[in-house]
């Protein structure tokens, strides 16, 4: 009886559904957008999304809140994308995730939309490519920089030795708890700091042919310098080995340190005299270097990509295109102090006074920024390196042995996944 009933009702129901679908005005496309959205960043984004929706009748954008911590957001993405969920339609990606997600088939290639690749910094485009196709457009660029106290130092240190001397002296004179602080917890941030030391000592993680060279003498010297800064010079507190960006920023903001290594986002927050004790008393510079290397900034930043299983690829690209246009990027830069990925914006007066140093200098720093290896197994490579670095810095292993272990494990990984330089991708 029950079965009969449903069988009778079913077609009628369907017909009704069809009729209502035909008669109602065209249904709005609903896009879900997952990005970081706290504080001032959320305000700017909401303004931009409202303008986008006003300009694109019929498209509605809903924000899907995700954790701000990169690792947690990535894990959430992995769960959604691996389950082939169609939402969120648009994803904010860290620069190191694009090749991995693209290789897994989770992202939509953007080439068919004819994105203006040449309008962006070439390195940011290269980092968003996999197997010759573009999978994401850069939203903002991050570069690691040295923040230094203008009231305690006459100028930024140029070499690591000078950094140690100046910081130690200034710290004693001003009776500060810390000299130099950086991100030393066992996470991706530690790798970005190491990359800057590494470049300063003339080393690399991978050479141009894709071979692992992270155990080179230059790399050992770089890691030894980081370790000596803690235990020999006492300029870096051992606490940094549990610190991420925000702990480092808070310490510097409270006037507890002479120098810190951090990303551009910190600038705006440190300039806010209501919360910061160092407003107007600091500037930024490139990280120091030795004669063997050159001042290095790690390239980071956020990208916008489209979920491969989205129902609305065209609308999703329209949103990405809108958010990466010069006007929106300039608005973001002015409100948040983050660096736009379009080099042309640094000409002229558009961004004058927005950054701690003149725009053309910022562009210079970005153009020299060093990307991390572009590979779908980057997360695992980095994890191996994080463990080795942290072991060496917590004195469980000496730098030579730790880096040799890391190099061996990284080579084994590339071999296992058939991505070693001999085999090629």
């Amino acid at each position: 009886m029950l079965l009969l009933c449903t069988a009778r009702i079913h077609p009628v129901f369907l017909l009704m559904l069809l009729l209502t679908a035909c008669h109602s005005p065209s249904q709005d496309i609903v896009l879900t957008f997952s990005s970081s959205a706290v504080g001032a960043e959320a305000e700017v984004l909401q303004r931009q999304l409202a303008r986008f929706m006003a300009a694109h009748q019929g498209i509605q954008v809903i924000q899907r809140v995700t954790p701000d911590a990169a690792d947690q957001r990535r894990q959430l993405y992995v769960q959604w994308l691996n389950a082939r969920a169609g939402e969120p339609d648009i994803l904010q990606l860290d620069i190191i995730w694009t090749p991995e997600f693209a290789a897994a088939g989770w992202l939509l290639p953007l080439d068919s939309f004819a994105p203006p690749r040449e309008a962006f910094f070439p390195m940011t485009i290269a980092a968003n490519q996999w197997a010759g196709q573009l999978y994401a457009l850069p939203w903002f660029v991050d570069v690691g920089m040295l923040y230094w106290r203008t009231d305690l130092l006459a100028g930024p240190p140029r070499t690591f030795d000078e950094l140690m001397q100046l910081v130690t002296r200034a710290r004693t004179d001003a009776a500060l708890p810390f000299g130099f602080i950086w991100q030393g917890a066992r996470y991706e941030g530690l790798v970005t700091v190491f990359l800057e030391y590494l470049g300063g000592f003339g080393g690399q993680i991978m050479d141009d042919r894709g071979r692992i060279v992270v155990d080179s003498p230059a790399a050992v010297r770089a890691l030894t310098a980081m370790r000596d800064a803690i235990y020999r010079d006492g300029a870096v507190p051992p606490s940094v080995l549990t610190w991420q960006e925000e702990q480092v920023r808070f310490a510097f903001q409270n006037g507890q340190a002479v120098c810190m290594r951090n990303w551009p986002y910190a600038y705006r927050l440190l300039q806010d005299s209501a919360a910061s004790l160092v407003a107007g008393k600091f500037s930024v510079a490139l990280m120091p270097a030795t004669a063997d290397g050159s001042p290095t900034a790690t390239l980071g930043g956020s990208q916008l990509a489209i979920n491969a299983h989205t129902d609305h690829p065209q609308a999703a690209y329209q949103l990405i295109d809108y958010l990466t246009r010069p006007e929106q990027l300039v608005e973001r830069a002015r409100a948040l102090g983050v660096y736009p990925p379009r080099p042309a914006l640094y000409d002229g007066s558009l961004l004058a006074g927005v950054f701690p140093v003149p725009p053309d200098q910022v562009r210079h720093i970005i153009e020299r920024a060093v990307p991390r290896p572009v590979t779908p197994v980057y997360a695992e490579l980095s994890h191996i390196l994080q463990i080795a670095l942290h072991r060496a810095l917590t004195r469980q292993q000496d730098p030579t042995a730790a880096l040799a272990d890391a190099a061996r494990a990284m080579c084994a990984l590339l071999e296992r996944v058939d991505l070693s330089p001999q085999a090629g991708p």
């Binding site: 690792d71 990535r74 894990q75 992995v78 769960q79 691996n82 991995e100 290789a103 897994a104 088939g105 917890a185 066992r186 996470y187 507190p237 051992p238 606490s239 080995l241 549990t242 779908p376 197994v377 997360a379 695992e380 994890h383 463990i387 080795a388 942290h390 072991r391 810095l393 917590t394 469980q396 292993q397 996944v417 058939d418």
Partner: protein
């Protein structure tokens, strides 16, 4: 009643019993057995989400071979075993003491019993965060108290020392799960017939003799139950360490469950991660069997 009708009645009753149990069985199979078998099946394949072009070939026991030759796997197993041994031993000792105190009759006993359960009721992640705050900073409460008391000359960065990092981990676990052990043992204490103590007193046994010859032997079944629960729980420790140390410094406090989690959700190696999960399960299962046999023998001994 004839034998025939009796038999058919019994048969129909058995049928009804099966019918009634069937939904439960189906649920058990689908939520316990199916995922387990799926994980075993997965562990026999190369399944790497990062490289879908490699497909999902059957590779036999290769994932297991990799795990068993992996130093990080053995380190993680060692960490987990040491953590389990130390934390469970302390928890059972303290839990017993707490249970004896709670068993005593005094004013406000109900209130004390409820208060003791508070740590157990708190979400692990919240508890872990609180413990991390207490230990993390050089001006955190632990460092402040220890330096003020003169135990340490200068603050220790607990989480950067491979051995010291275990201190907050063990303390937090003991703090959180001792109440659970105490409640289990308290239940055991309450089943002991008070006349036994009376008889012992008449025979002239002192409190210590009563404890050794009555309380301890009769508490053993409850003790074993607590031991099984705590050992299996400690063996799978994850959230506490994930929040407190993240497995660091380096990998000095990494338990096996955290390693497996990283392999799966950070490195996206589902086949290898499944093999690790199966190995964790096998050890838990072996421990459970061992305890159940011990418990069974104990039951016979008491009878």
């Amino acid at each position: 009643m004839s034998r025939n009708t009796e038999e058919s009645l019994a048969r129909s009753e058995a049928r009804l019993a099966w019918l009634l149990v069937l939904p439960t069985l189906a649920i058990l199979l689908s939520i316990a057995l199916f995922p387990l078998l799926w994980t075993v099946w997965e562990s026999l394949h190369l399944h790497d989400l990062r490289m879908p072009w490699r497909g999902r070939p059957f590779i036999g026991l290769a994932n297991y071979a990799e795990a068993l030759t992996d130093t990080r796997f053995w380190q993680a197993m060692g960490h987990t075993a040491a953590f389990t041994l130390v934390s469970v031993t302390v928890e059972l000792g303290l839990g017993l003491a707490l249970a004896l105190v709670l068993h005593h009759r005094y004013r406000g006993r109900g209130l004390v019993r409820a208060a003791v359960l508070v740590p157990w009721a708190m979400p692990t992640v919240v508890a872990a965060l609180v413990w991390r705050l207490m230990f993390e900073s050089p001006v955190g409460i632990v460092n402040a108290v220890l330096t003020d008391l003169g135990v340490m000359r200068e603050p220790l960065v607990w989480f950067t020392h491979p051995l010291a990092a275990w201190v907050p981990v063990i303390l937090a676990d003991v703090w959180k799960t001792t109440p659970f052990v105490a409640i289990l043992l308290l239940a055991g204490l309450q089943t002991i017939d008070p006349t036994l103590y009376e008889a012992a007193r008449i025979d002239g046994a002192g409190p210590w003799q009563q404890f050794c010859h009555i309380t301890l032997p009769l508490l053993r079944p409850a003790f074993l139950v607590a031991l099984i629960f705590r050992t299996l729980d400690a063996w799978r420790v994850f959230d506490l360490i994930y929040v407190l140390t993240g497995g660091g410094p380096g990998t000095a406090t990494e338990p096996i469950a955290l390693y497996a989690f990283g392999v799966m959700f950070s490195h996206l190696r589902f086949g290898f991660g499944a093999a690790l999960s199966v190995l964790i399960f096998l050890v838990s299962f072996a421990l459970a069997l061992l305890y159940i046999r011990a418990l069974g023998r104990e039951g016979r001994g008491v009878a």
